[in-house]
């Protein structure tokens, strides 16, 4: 098995009812890459997947896999295999026939099919389950049968449509590692669709964040989380405390924004100029309590500070969540549980570094995250 690259050239999908699910999109997915498309439901990610697999034909643009143009070629003739959200195993066939179905469709003799099915079941750690019916397996096992079934046709590209969403949290985390491992062993190109940022960040070599039919940003997981380029990416992946304001100075990479909480300094992500409307964002885990630094002017020069009123303190095991208000802003702070369970005072001085503060052009903000 060898992965192949996927190249989307200006593809666009408008449904007959006039709804444009995917606006003109260019995307290159490298051969053998674990690539995720992350976005809220209805953002067009499944449409892209169905166009790559061949169930939908794009209204415009071209799709090529391994350099071969795929437009007009049906799903049964593409070097892709799709794993459905609900897995869509054939319930009336035993596991091995499920796995070998693609081979059966290609006319491979039975003995050979059986042998190949058992090899694949071994690959997904299901050896000896060949003659069971899918209903006799657990959720995670069924998941692996679906992977084996898709791999049986030796696809160059494996497409996964939120296949873990039906599993419970523990199993999901376990399956992430297994999928990643299978991808490494087979070096097939994985294109993984999800609305779960944890899955996307944990498994992927690269992630594309999508919103409303457009790709917002394509980057490595680290870049997506630490260096988001758009307001949507910043707020959809992970959590952000958001302040609005106007740019008052822009020196090099650093800008100052006048907000309701005073002037906040941060990194200029979108080349904002003085006078521009701006969003100031900082992640809950990057905010700390101001204590020792207060007297050190050198350190203070690199910090934004503000005072807030504590509304609620939630203990979450390793983490402590503080919910505060500062003026009209709600602020969420996320701290390590250091074992010091002394109560917080009502008025708290918060501080966060300039380099952890992101200044961005206003754009759509992800509100209802999954």
């Amino acid at each position: 098995m060898r992965g192949q690259d996927v190249f989307l050239d200006g593809i666009k999908m408008t449904y007959p009812n006039g709804f444009t699910a995917v606006h003109e999109t260019d995307l290159t997915i490298n051969a053998g890459e674990f690539f995720s498309i992350l976005g809220p439901s209805g953002c067009g990610k499944t449409t892209i997947l169905r166009m790559i697999s061949g169930f939908l034909d794009p209204t415009a643009g071209a799709i090529s896999i391994g350099g071969v143009r795929m437009n007009g070629i049906g799903p049964n003739n593409r070097p892709t295999a799709l794993i459905f959200q609900n897995l869509a195993l054939f319930p009336l066939m035993p596991v091995w026939e499920n796995v070998a179905f693609g081979l059966e469709a290609r006319g491979v003799p039975k003995a050979k099919r059986r042998k190949r099915a058992e090899e694949l079941l071994e690959l997904v750690a299901l050896y000896g389950q060949a003659d069971k019916m899918p209903t006799e397996l657990s959720g995670g096992q069924r998941q692996r049968v679906a992977v084996a079934r898709a791999l049986a046709v030796e696809p160059a590209v494996l497409l996964l449509d939120e296949p873990l969403s039906a599993l419970d949290l523990k199993l999901r985390q376990h399956m992430r590692a297994e999928l990643k491992e299978i991808q490494r062993k087979t070096s097939v190109t994985f294109i993984y669709i999800t609305h779960d940022q944890g899955e996307a960040l944990a498994m992927s070599d690269r992630v594309a964040v999508m919103n409303e039919g457009r790709i917002e940003q394509v980057a490595s997981a680290d870049d997506i989380y630490n260096r988001p380029q758009t307001a949507f990416t910043a707020t959809f992946v992970g959590e952000q405390n958001v302040f609005t304001g106007k740019v008052t100075s822009a020196v090099g990479n650093e800008v100052a924004v006048e907000t309701g909480q005073g002037t906040l300094y941060g990194v200029n992500r979108n080349d904002l100029a003085v006078g521009d409307e701006a969003l100031v964002m900082v992640r809950p885990e990057r905010i700390g309590l101001l204590n020792g630094e207060a007297g050190d002017p050198e350190k203070m020069a690199k910090l934004n500070t503000l005072s807030a009123r504590l509304q609620r303190r939630d203990l979450e095991g390793a983490l402590i969540n503080l919910y505060l208000t500062a003026g009209e802003n709600d602020i969420h702070v996320n701290m390590h549980n250091t074992g010091d369970d002394a109560p917080f005072s009502d008025e708290i001085k918060l501080a966060f570094r300039h380099r952890d503060t992101v200044i961005m052009r206003p754009g759509s903000i992800a509100r209802d995250r999954a």
Partner: protein, 400 residues
């Protein structure tokens, strides 16, 4: 039962149970037991007593006909007093001429239309009444003879298999052919209905689905006989189909080239498939509708051809529906009487149901009729179990 008592109370539950028991006894047990009893009761119809019985029956029939004639003549006489409308007497008498009792003197005396009027009628009535009196006397005599003879050599009603074993070769052939034809109709229905059911079940457009459903159901709002007759309109020698063929120049009706579509296996099968299509479509539709459509897409994605998708994914899932549809279509077509009667016109080989009808009401042999019905019933039950075994579905799957 406990659940019923809890939700409806003891009184109402007792009423339900009573009604169900009554229904089972009256509508199922009693008729079936009677039929089985008759089927295994053999009556020797060749003996002297049997001949007597037939003669008595005939005398009764004749007397009944005469009595009706008398009544009709009297009614006519009452209707117009005097000799003012002589023509009316003729129509009132004509039906009797067509009746089997044509040799009776009354029939000979009647055909003088518009001649005698009321006076003539009175004579006729007298003659008829005299005739009736003689018949009544004859019946009494015959019946007393029957009472005497039934003592020793009477109609021996004995239990035996003779009603079955005396089935003639031709009847048996019709029996076998009927089952075969019903099987053909079932296969044809399946071939037509499966694609229809699949298309309906996989339609995502709601409006189109509603339209297709309507298209299927509306014909069933029309009486079955009307549906059959509409096919006659199409298939008749001067019917729509031949007219169309004439129009496009394939045949020339005026030159007598009209094709005889009716009274052929093809016509009977076509009409029957049309008559029972719904019983095949809906069970299959119901099962395909429950199939996860992703399975079809998954199979396609794995490279399966349309044939493979249907044989490996859709049909195995739809098996209970196909079994139910086949059973219903088979039973209905094996027992169908209107279609072969109307479309077959006696030119098409008989169906067994027609034979049963004639055993009962024309040969007047209820015992043999029952035996024939029982044979058909058993054949159908065997078909049900065979179908269930072939499709590997249990009663529970079918109940779904």
């Amino acid at each position: 039962m406990e659940a019923l008592v809890r939700s409806y109370g003891k009184g109402l539950t007792a009423v339900f149970a009573g009604l169900v028991a009554l229904w089972i006894i009256l509508m199922i047990v009693v008729p079936q037991v009677t039929m089985i009893d008759r089927a295994f009761t053999y009556q020797d119809r060749g003996g002297e007593t049997a001949m007597l019985a037939i003669e008595i029956d005939r005398a009764y029939t004749k007397r009944f006909q005469l009595e009706q004639q008398v009544q009709r003549a009297q009614n006519a006489a009452d209707a117009e007093p005097g000799a003012s409308a002589p023509s009316v007497s003729a129509p009132s008498a004509t039906p009797s001429i067509g009746a089997p009792a044509a040799t009776t003197p009354s029939a000979g005396g009647l055909p003088q239309p518009s001649a005698g009027g009321a006076a003539n009628q009175e004579i006729d009535v007298e003659a008829l009444e005299a005739e009736i009196a003689t018949l009544t006397a004859k019946i009494e005599e015959l019946e007393s003879q029957e009472d005497l003879s039934s003592g020793e050599a009477g109609m021996k009603a004995t239990y035996s298999l003779k009603n079955f074993t005396t089935m003639s070769g031709i009847h048996f052939q019709i029996f076998v052919m009927t089952l075969l034809y019903a099987f053909c109709v079932t296969i044809l229905s399946f071939l037509i209905c499966y694609p229809v059911a699949f298309v309906i079940a996989t339609t995502t457009n709601r409006n189109r689905l509603a339209l297709m459903m309507l298209g299927l159901v509306i014909p069933y709002a029309i009486n079955e006989l009307l549906r059959i007759f509409s096919w006659i309109m199409i298939l008749e020698k001067n019917g729509i189909l031949n007219t169309f063929l004439n129009f496009i120049g394939i045949i020339d009706i005026d030159a007598g080239e009209g094709i005889r579509f009716v009274a052929s296996n093809g016509a009977v099968f076509t009409v029957m498939v049309y008559a029972y299509v719904l019983f095949m479509v809906f069970p299959i539709y119901n099962t395909i509708d429950t199939l996860d459509k992703n399975q079809i897409e998954a199979a396609r994605d794995l490279g399966a051809s349309a044939w493979k998708i249907h044989t490996r994914v859709v049909i195995p899932h739809a098996k209970p529906g196909i079994a139910v549809g086949s059973i219903m279509t088979f039973m209905l077509s094996a027992g169908s009487i209107a279609v072969p009667e109307i479309v077959g016109r006696g030119l098409h080989p008989d169906w067994f149901s027609q034979l049963i009808y004639r055993r009962f009401f024309e040969a007047d042999s209820w015992n043999q009729g029952s035996a024939y019905s029982l044979a058909l019933l058993i054949a159908c039950i065997v078909f049900i179990f065979a179908t269930m075994a072939i499709f590997k579905v249990g009663i529970r799957d079918i109940a779904k």
